[in-house]
């Protein structure tokens, strides 16, 4: 029995009215870079930068829609990593990846403004800013109010958080620009099979012609694992050491297609997720190579971008997904009088602990293996001195003005399949039935498909009906996209502001290669979630299936073909010099500014202090007091270290390690009370040092015996 439209109208009518409420506009001009600096080098140069961007707890963990939790602590810290390249003409390009769920156009343009103000010669068109797509990091920075408001259980556009992110991302690029040195480089690709899978096979199999394999998979893999884009593409960069003159491994820029969803939506920790493990894994490897050649360790940077991840999930086990909240009567004392209260009920703490722990193990297992593949590829490559030119082409499209002429819709619509979540990440409203009987249509496939194909959005059944989508919901969705093409040697990168499905990416790459032409066409790769965020990009065939990816392709079935077309057109205008055409300005409405992130509290009344650790189950648990409420962590520096009692000066893990989770559990004397939980790899006698961002501990705990080989962390602590 179906009662789709009325049910949907009723369900989210209030959301629409809230979206319709006016909010002050924000103007985001593009910025043309200053003329290239005077030629200060004859060689191809590169420089790396890395700046921590972990905000204080309290922000929403974006990416899982309203299922995203409010951050209560952190595990692997979040960073902005940048590789700045400069050719012999002075033409520069910044390849930047941030440990965030998405990059917004607002964030991209504000970083570019900051970089131009800092005289880096890197403007809007020379900044390829993309996200790893970890779903355990904040949003609150979008130019579209719907994404600010409904991307986690904590919503709102936060100007202070956005400004902090902009400053830190720009600082990472500036480090790279300031550190430019002659470089030897090499591109390479390696197939990585078995760790990812296509989550929407029904949609992928609709493509005509049937998608070709993108490599040679090992025998025995199931179809969903064979259909992925297995290519790990990597640019190895060795830099000339200023003291010795020798070229030492310095870092890499790589692209691999994989959703940043190692963690379940139930997690409450800020976490760089799978990509954080891969980033750190290759960085440790490069540092070991540097050390072996007499170089300084601890400086390697792995800028790890996401490829065509739109329909590609990590191959985590099913028990790593926590069930979505369910409607239940709230449990209360069994009284003959109490009125029963219905509400959403999350999984129990114990159940949540089990699925979160399973996800953590999967992140470590998958991440370390992909990191090993990246290290093997890095070792395979022989960096060479090159005379590459760096060229780029860039276009901003306002779909409300140009959409129809480009063959797509002029108004963004979300589909009913968006509300129910992806095949492996259902939301609480998936399969929702009004009165338990009437299907509200919040699911993928036929229930989400519009049988009347006459409209611009074709097979998409608009979430709230066409009128409400057009006049209310769309006001909170993005209308402008930025598309960049960047040529580095014989590689063309396409920065697409969406989550590109595997087949959409293939078609874009084919269009780029065909447009470049020549006897030896360049390679091409798509970087997803780059320079902005327009949700998904599915092919027309995939769109017709109205799975989550198709329902979230905002501008209709022609979107992927449009992006392939304009990408190919941009190839003709690739240039190292100034761009033609005047700068543009985007008018955005991110929503009313709100204080999502805690503002800085009063200074602490007592110095930082460390309690005696305890052993709970297999886990060393310790509390300490450090920092004001709302204070950012000591950037890139550990707060605590866990060490063997016999060797307290060499921490086995710090609070930026997958075995350590840190929770903000209270406030004492105006200092944040933190609780750290470390899972030792083997039983032993351990101490904890409070580093508080310094090189030497300001306090060292008594020793404690703890640990086992089972490796299952306890449930999260009760939070205030």
């Amino acid at each position: 029995m179906m009662l789709r439209r009325p049910a949907r109208y009723l369900l989210v009518a209030l959301a629409l009215t809230s979206a319709a409420c006016g909010s002050p506009p924000v103007y985001l001009p593009s910025v043309a870079p200053l003329p290239p600096p005077a030629r200060d080098t004859l060689s191809f140069s590169a420089g790396f930068g890395r700046i921590e961007i972990t905000p204080p707890p309290g922000v929403g963990l974006a990416g899982n829609g309203p299922e995203g939790r409010k951050a209560a602590g952190y595990r692997l810290r979040l960073y902005a990593r940048a590789l700045v390249l400069q050719d012999s003409s002075g033409s520069r390009l910044a390849l930047v990846v941030v440990d965030l769920p998405h990059v917004s156009l607002l964030l991209h343009r504000r970083v570019a403004q900051r970089l131009v103000a800092d005289s880096t010669s890197i403007g809007t068109d020379r900044l390829l800013l993309s996200a790893t797509h970890t779903h355990s990091a904040p949003g609150h920075h979008y130019e579209a109010s719907e994404y600010n408001d409904h991307n986690a259980e904590v919503g709102g556009y936060d100007e202070a958080l956005t400004d902090s992110l902009v400053a830190r991302i720009a600082a990472a690029v500036r480090l790279g620009a300031d550190g430019l040195r002659p470089a030897r480089v090499a591109w390479g690709t390696r197939e990585v099979w078995g760790y990812t899978r296509i989550r929407s096979m029904a949609a992928r199999e609709r493509n005509v012609p049937y998608p070709a394999l993108l490599g040679a998979p090992p025998a025995g893999l199931p179809p969903a694992k064979v259909a992925v884009d297995p290519r790990l593409t990597l640019l190895r960069v060795d830099l000339r050491d200023s003291l010795t003159g020798q070229y030492l491994p310095a870092g890499a820029y790589s692209i691999f297609a994989m959703h940043g969803t190692g963690n379940s939506a139930e997690t409450q920790l800020l976490d760089a997720d799978l990509h954080g493990v891969v980033e750190r894994g290759l960085e440790r490897h490069i540092d070991s190579l540097r050390l072996a050649r007499g170089g300084r360790p601890g400086v390697a940077v792995h800028v790890f971008a996401n490829g065509t991840e739109g329909d590609t999930s990590p191959d985590w086990p099913a028990d790593s997904r926590c069930p979505a909240p369910q409607i239940r009567v709230r449990e209360s004392p069994e009284s003959p009088f109490a009125a029963r209260i219905w509400g959403w009920r999350r999984v129990s703490r114990a159940g949540g602990g089990a699925c979160i722990a399973s996800a953590r193990r999967a992140i470590e297992w998958i991440g370390e293996r992909i990191a090993a593949e990246a290290a093997a590829l890095f070792d395979q490559l022989t960096p060479q001195p090159v005379a590459w030119s760096i060229r780029r082409a860039f276009r901003t499209i306002d779909f409300s003005q140009e959409g129809k002429s480009l063959g797509v819709c002029d108004t963004p619509f979300t589909g009913t399949s968006t509300a129910g979540g992806a095949a492996d990440a259902r939301t609480r409203v998936y399969g929702w039935r009004v009165l338990g009987l009437f299907d509200a249509g919040f699911e993928e496939g036929p229930a989400a498909t519009n049988p009347d194909l006459s409209g611009c959005q074709g097979a998409k059944r608009a979430l709230l009906g066409e009128w409400l989508e057009r006049h209310v919901v769309s006001k909170g969705l993005p209308h402008v996209g930025q598309f960049g093409i960047y040529q580095i040697g014989d590689m063309i990168l396409a920065g697409v502001p969406a989550e590109v499905t595997t087949e959409s990416g293939q078609r874009i790459e084919q269009a780029l290669r065909a447009a470049a032409g020549g006897a030896r066409p360049p390679q091409a790769r798509v970087v997803s979630i780059a320079n902005g965020f327009l949700q998904y990009l599915a092919t027309a065939e995939e769109y017709s299936a109205q799975t989550y990816e198709g329902g979230s392709t905002l501008f209709g079935p022609g979107s992927a073909a449009m992006v392939a077309r304009i990408s190919a057109e941009l190839v003709d205008s690739l240039s190292a010099g100034p761009l033609s055409g005047p700068p543009d300005t985007v008018e955005a409405r991110p929503g009313r500014p709100q204080r999502v992130m805690d503002r800085l509290g009063e200074p602490g009344e007592v110095p930082p202090s460390l309690d005696r650790p305890t052993c709970r189950g297999d886990t060393v648990v310790v509390q300490w007091r450090w920092g004001r409420r709302g204070e950012w962590l000591p950037a890139g520096r550990p707060m605590v270290g866990f060490a063997a009692a016999a060797d307290p000066d060499r921490p086995l893990a710090t609070d930026d390690h997958i075995d350590v989770e840190v929770w903000s559990v209270g406030l004492e004397h105006h200092l944040v009370l933190w609780e750290g939980r470390w899972l030792p790899r083997r039983p032993g006698n351990y101490v904890v040092g409070l580093l508080a961002g310094g090189d030497r501990p300001i306090a060292v705990s008594d020793s404690i015996t703890c640990g086992s080989l089972r490796g299952i962390p306890p449930s999260p602590p009760e939070l205030p």
């Binding site: 409607i327 239940r328 338990g436």
Partner: protein, 282 residues
């Protein structure tokens, strides 16, 4: 020691015992209190007070995986002076506490099913001279509940047996179904709740006023109420409810006594704030 004092002392002892258990089992301790402003006091479909009233309750419960204990109290304060045609427990002419009830229960749980048995003591504090009920009307009931807390409907059956003054049983079946769910924070929902009452012997016997509550045996009333969330912050939840009741038994009709054609439909409006600590729900 009379029965009334014994029940009160029993409830107090249970409260103290539960507080003693609390430190050892913090996660299983649940405390709930409610304050409601209601347009009338409806009890088993009967308008016991047709004046607006302030109803408050407090309960504390302890539960491990399969067993639970709980105790609490419920009170009703009639507001305003009332009019001569109003029904009342406290009495007309001024506002005051009309009823204070104590209860204690033990439950067993199996998945989403709860079976509860308890004792319930009704005490009345009104002024008989002004039409109210006093201690002479106090009584005690045993009650049992089967509660199926499923994802939908969540039916519940309550059985009450007066062991002091009134003969027979009273059964109440109730259920609720979510109608609208807000999929974004604060994740509240609107739901419909229904109740059907069945009298099995609690009728007034001819010549014995006060010997029962209803005129007939059988279905007493049916009520449907729409529950709308107002706010949800911390452990506090505010809701507004509108209920419409169809009275089948003459005693459940809000109109004047003795006229079965009037007052078949009774309206109830209620604003309620609940504080609930523990239970792990959101």
């Amino acid at each position: 020691m009379n029965r009334r004092l014994g029940i009160r002392l029993g409830c107090c002892a249970a409260l103290i015992a539960l507080h003693g258990l609390a430190p050892a089992a913090q996660a299983q301790l649940r405390v709930e209190s409610q304050v409601a402003l209601a347009s009338r006091q409806l009890w088993r479909g009967i308008s016991r007070s047709s004046r607006p009233s302030l109803q408050s309750s407090a309960a504390v419960g302890w539960r491990n995986r399969s067993v639970g204990l709980a105790t609490g109290a419920w009170s009703n304060v009639e507001l305003g002076n009332g009019e001569s045609s109003d029904r009342t427990i406290y009495g007309l002419g001024r506002a005051g506490l009309g009823e204070l009830d104590w209860w204690a229960s033990a439950s067993v749980y199996d998945g989403h099913t709860a079976i509860t048995a308890g004792v319930l003591r009704y005490t009345y504090h009104g002024r008989p001279a002004r039409g109210g009920l006093d201690h002479g009307s106090n009584t005690t009931e045993l009650w049992g509940t089967l509660d199926l807390r499923g994802e939908l409907l969540s039916p519940r059956l309550d059985v009450f047996w007066d062991i002091e003054r009134i003969d027979g049983f009273y059964l109440a079946g109730s259920s609720a179904v979510p109608v609208l769910a807000w999929p974004f924070s604060p994740f509240s929902m609107v739901y419909l709740e229904g109740e059907l009452g069945l009298n099995l012997g609690q009728r007034v016997h001819p010549g014995r006023p006060g010997s029962g509550y209803f005129d007939d045996t059988g279905v007493t009333h049916a009520r449907v109420s729409l529950q709308v969330p107002l706010f949800h912050a911390g452990g506090f939840a505010g809701r507004l409810a509108y209920g419409a009741q169809l009275g089948f038994d003459p005693a459940t009709r809000a109109g004047l006594d003795g006229d079965p054609t009037r007052g078949r439909l009774t309206h109830l409006v209620e604003a309620r704030v609940t504080f609930l600590h523990g239970g792990g729900d959101r």
